[in-house]
């Protein structure tokens, strides 16, 4: 198989794989490791939480991630204010020794939609503090533009609400974001199956970030492989340039030199 891909870059970090995967909701850590390997991903997301004071030195998630193979992308999931997100990001940098941060500032616990103004405020502060900021945001071209102006390294519009598996709900907005933003565009959240992933990539975005779409599949390892192929296929289709859609048929076989019988329109003799 020949896969022509030039790879892509966030800040100083370079990647070939265009699939970023989460570490949450897997049935076990063994399944997670196998799914990560099957996905071909080079970057995995983690969350930041308080240690348990009654078991502070127990085995941690990091023991199950090979950092020579995967770049760690910590997130600020669960933060509802810029202030909480900034401190969470600073703690993540100290714990994981990375400048990368997936910035999430949530505005509503039911939809988990991002809070735009708080996200922008946090992005500005974190960029100033030296972070490579990847903000999760709505599929809103203006918000993405403001985040680009704030100095973010990428923008990450949602396909659909986190964990919903609804697929790309607004492909037109994602296309506009792609056209208007010169930074890497990563579709984050809401991808449910391979066709969703392929469709998102066909819109020309640089990468996809997903967690539940793989982790909550009946067979996460097989779905991880499916997502890998879908991302590659969608990217290649985008690069190949799809045919124009048309209302009427256009024959693929020649319409000349057809065989003609004596009884036109007869269905039996």
């Amino acid at each position: 198989m020949t896969v022509r891909d030039e790879g892509w870059q966030i800040g100083s970090h370079r990647f070939i794989s265009r699939l970023i995967v989460g570490t949450g909701k897997y049935p076990s850590l063994e399944v997670m490791r196998a799914a990560h390997a099957a996905s071909g991903a080079e970057m995995v997301t983690v969350a930041i939480r308080r240690i348990h004071l009654d078991d502070p030195s127990g085995k941690t998630l990091l023991d199950h991630i090979d950092r020579s193979r995967y770049t760690i992308l910590p997130n600020t999931a669960g933060c509802f204010s810029a202030k909480d997100a900034i401190l969470t990001a600073q703690l993540a940098r100290e714990a994981l020794q990375t400048d990368l941060i997936k910035l999430e500032v949530i505005g509503d616990p039911d939809t988990l939609y991002p809070d735009g103004p708080q996200t922008i405020a946090a992005a500005e502060a974190l960029v100033k503090d030296g972070f490579t900021v990847l903000p999760y945001i709505g599929d809103d071209p203006i918000m993405c533009k403001r985040l680009a102006e704030a100095g973010c390294a990428a923008v990450m519009p949602l396909a659909a609400p986190i964990g919903s598996g609804l697929g790309v709900c607004n492909p037109y907005s994602i296309r506009i974001i792609r056209e208007q933003i010169s930074l890497p565009v990563i579709v984050d959240a809401g991808v449910g199956t391979a066709s969703d992933a392929a469709l998102a990539m066909e819109l020309g975005v640089d990468a996809l970030l997903m967690n539940t779409g793989i982790a909550a599949a009946r067979d996460p390892v097989l779905m991880a492989q499916a997502m890998r192929h879908a991302v590659l296929g969608g990217r290649q289709a985008y690069l190949a340039g799809r045919m124009e859609k048309r209302l009427y048929a256009s024959a693929s076989s020649p319409m000349q030199d057809l065989i003609v019988t004596n009884a036109p329109n007869a269905t039996s003799v």
Binding site: G22, G24, P56, S57, T60, L62, Q90, L91, M210
Partner: protein
């Protein structure tokens, strides 16, 4: 002195550094980070920063998430 560690109030002896507190609580250095009153105390500073009564301490690590 009373400190609030990860939201729980706990009693400690006076004269404790951040590094001392972490050792006392058996928190591993690798993969963890500490904030004292909403400011990160870097690993390299932990031995020189003293905690005071009433401080709010956050100790974190990476967990599974998306």
């Amino acid at each position: 002195m009373r400190l609030t560690v990860n939201g729980e109030e706990r009693e400690f002896d006076e004269g404790l550094t951040v590094a001392g507190l972490l050792a006392l609580m058996k928190v591993p250095k690798r993969g963890t980070a500490v904030a004292r009153n909403d400011r990160v105390v870097q690993h390299s500073e932990q031995a020189g920063v003293f905690v005071k009564a009433g401080d709010r301490i956050e100790i974190i690590r990476a967990v599974a998430g998306g």
